[in-house]
């Protein structure tokens, strides 16, 4: 750029870039004999910073080099007009002094953000209560506070042609497998998209099985969970504008783990994990089992039970398939409605819907009371799963199960479970198998059961093959 461009000319050039922006300001000043101009968007900058740390020192020492005068940390220089224009959009103030060849980009942006709150979707009874917020710098701050080690690496990318969203990838260098990190960076860099909605868009772009119902990355808003997974060698991705972070690579069992399992005693943790696995099977299979028993195989139940079931179905107008489908649909409608409604109304509607509709629908002989029990149990069982995505996916799986078992009974249900198992075994997350059956002790230590901490001395093989020891001399005081 020329030294000879006058401030007036510069003002015109820059203003042309921002001719349609009503919040663009260009302030001209005289410092000594030289003219200078400060350009900024007044909705983005903090006026106090600009006044105290840019203008005031400049007015005091107008002749010195800008670098020595201005007391702003975020200082850079550039020759390019485009970079300067981009910097204004990031919230920097651009300073141009007559006779110099570069622009000075001074960071003075205003931070307006929500305060750190309790996590809204991942409550626990025992454990930390901080959650990520939308500002990516604050999120990185929370993570760095939790892991104060030099091995903890944070790398940032810019994704989205128009939105230019800042995305950060975090991992622990000595633990994470290098191929996974490379593969992840390759996939992120291949994203050629206009704007990014975290975490949904990134999830769909990066995942391997395109059409699967099951979530293939874990989404969390808790820093303590993110730290736990980082310590196992996994990689965490966070983006500006979203309080949820993505964790890869995960296996099927990660969706059934909750931070509370590690705060309670290991026996309790094991019992609750087993309960969640049983509820997984119940959610998919219970309505289908009801349909197949009442339509195809009543001989599975002893005679007293089957007589009661028969008398409850005697006057019901619909066949069991329609009963099952309509009750599960009612449950979905109720759930979706309570999410959309504002909170005081939502709670009441939930109670009204549940109790009143459930009672009335039995008394009007549209649905049998056994089916109401089955539907309620299925719904509650699906909400036990800690991950929201997995819980949704599992609840949707009960519909094809009902359909298949209404055609051919329990055999259809068995075939459906088999197809599900095959589908899970074929999936992989970042090259590692998604579903590994937990029937050996080393596999089930943290998946099906929660082994005591002093037994969890090795990291999972898949994600941290280099550095597997995480405990040395557990309970050493007891020797």
């Amino acid at each position: 750029m020329n030294r000879d461009v006058s401030v007036d000319a510069m003002e015109q050039i820059i203003s042309m870039h921002f001719s349609e922006q009503s919040d663009f300001r260009a302030r001209r000043m005289s410092l000594g004999e030289k003219e200078c101009i400060v350009c900024y968007l007044d909705t983005l900058i903090d006026p106090m910073h600009v006044q105290e740390y840019i203008l005031k020192p400049l007015l005091n020492r107008p002749l010195d080099a800008i670098r020595q005068v201005v007391s702003i940390l975020d200082y850079s220089e550039t020759d390019q007009l485009e970079e300067a224009a981009q910097a204004i959009l990031y919230g920097k103030a651009v300073l141009y002094r007559e006779g110099e060849s570069h622009f000075y980009l001074l960071g003075a942006d205003l931070k307006k953000e929500r305060s750190i709150n309790i996590p809204s979707n991942e409550r626990v009874l025992r454990g930390a209560n901080e959650a990520f917020i939308e500002n990516i710098d604050t999120n990185l701050n929370l993570m760095r506070k939790l892991i104060n080690s030099t091995d903890f690496i944070v790398k940032t990318f810019m994704i989205g042609r128009l939105s230019k969203t800042k995305v950060a990838v975090m991992y622990i260098r000595s633990l994470a497998k290098p191929n996974i990190i490379e593969e992840l960076e390759r996939r992120l860099n291949s994203m050629d998209i206009d704007y990014v909605e975290m975490p949904g868009f990134i999830d769909e772009w990066i995942r391997e099985s395109k059409y699967s119902l099951f979530p293939q990355m874990l989404i969390t808003e808790r820093p303590d969970r993110a730290r736990a997974y980082l310590m196992e060698g996994k990689v965490v991705v966070t983006a500006a504008g979203s309080p949820d972070v993505i964790i890869v690579p995960v296996s099927f069992w990660s969706f059934f783990q909750s931070p509370e399992d590690y705060q309670n005693s290991w026996l309790l943790g094991t019992i609750f994990r087993l309960l969640r696995m049983i509820c997984f099977v119940i959610t998919i299979g219970l309505p289908a089992f009801y349909v197949s028993v009442s339509s195809f195989n009543p001989q599975l139940l002893p005679i007293n039970f089957v007589n009661t079931l028969q008398s409850s179905l005697k006057f019901v107008a619909f066949p069991p398939v329609i009963e099952a489908l309509s009750m599960m649909l009612l449950l979905e409608i109720l759930r979706e409605a309570t999410v959309r409604l504002a909170s005081p109304v939502g709670q009441t509607i939930g109670v009204v819907g549940g109790i009143v509709i459930g009672t009335v629908v039995v008394q009007s002989n549209l649905v049998s009371n056994t089916m109401v029990i089955v539907a309620a149990l299925t719904g509650l069982a699906s909400f036990i799963i800690p991950s929201y995505e997995m819980s949704n996916a599992v609840r949707q799986l009960c519909y094809p199960a009902i359909l298949v078992s209404s055609i051919i009974g329990l055999f259809g249900l068995a075939c459906f479970f088999m197809m599900l198992c095959i589908h899970l075994c074929r999936m992989s997350s970042m090259g590692l198998p998604y579903f590994v059956p937990p029937f050996t002790l080393s596999e089930s230590k943290d998946t099906l059961i929660r082994a005591p901490i002093w037994k969890l001395d090795k990291r999972p093989q898949g994600t941290a093959p280099n550095n597997r020891t995480r405990l040395r001399n557990p309970r050493g005081w007891n020797r």
Partner: protein, 366 residues
Amino acid sequence: MIKEESITGRQLFAIVVMVQLGTEVLSLPHVEADVAGQDTWIAVLLSGLFAQLGILLIWWLGSRYPDRNLYTYISTIVGKPIGLCMNAVFGLYYAFSGFLLTTNYADVLKRWMFVLSPWWILLLMLLIVCGYAATSTLRSLALISQTMIIVPIVGFLLITLSGTYGFDAKNLLPVLSGGWNPVMKGAYAAFSSYVGYDLLLYAYPYVRSRSNKGLLLWMSIANAIAIVFYVAVCLVCSTMFSLRQLTYIPEPIVFILKNYQLEIIQSLDILFLIFYACVVLSTIYVYFFLSSKAFMHLRKNGWGKQSVWVWAIVCACFAGGFFMTKRSNIIQVAALQDQASVYLIVVLPVILLVLSTLQRTMRNGV
């Protein structure tokens, strides 16, 4: 050679056990009652020991060519044209075995549970699940078999626990009343229940295990578990039924499980029959997998995609299933398949071993 994912020794064990346990659990005591009478369990045990010998043979053959699977090294032993021909024969044999198993199990289901449902829907459900599974890699097959292994464990517990109601050991005495002849005939009839270890012919180079002997150990443990299962089933059936009853009932295990009556659930035979489908399916999809790999190896760098071959085989089986609705047809064709399996799985590896030894000595001699 065409790429394949590797599996551990434990995963090999899981696949082989699931392949060896098939529909014979249901029908073995009935078949043996005509041949070996009271000494069914001895015949089945002997048959298992013969299968162990077969495993040793195959392992020895595989250890000669530790980084290639059968379809690749057979051409080096017998020459390219015969080798390609044998690959095609293997492909057809495996597809045929899978087809036979499917129609056998569909026939069992149709007689026991689904009288009105049309034949094609049972075939369709079984074949779709098998086709979907057979298009995966060896490692995914191993993971599926590992998950399904809980079904035969539960089945085994049910069968042995039911053996405590009305157990009469006098049914087994006197031992060897007819001499060794019926026992030998019974062992031949029971051999088809142990067929399945021939997976090692294909899987040998892909198993990551510490030593060669470790691989043999895993295969032997799998065979041993199959032996224990079959012998237990035969013992329970022999002691709980008389010989007269066994000649009439084609699936005695199902009759035994009818006796269970708990407070909340009864008639466990239906549940057993249905969840046993998982065990049968894990045999069938391995057969389809092996068949498609055999056809793919007809050309050096792989001929076509695995999924295309698998779905072609599935469609052929579905079409063929319409001709096999009579039970007597199924039994006749099963006898043919038994003979073919003995030739391909026992006789052929012996021939290959002999030929390869000759080749080696000739090469060393020259």
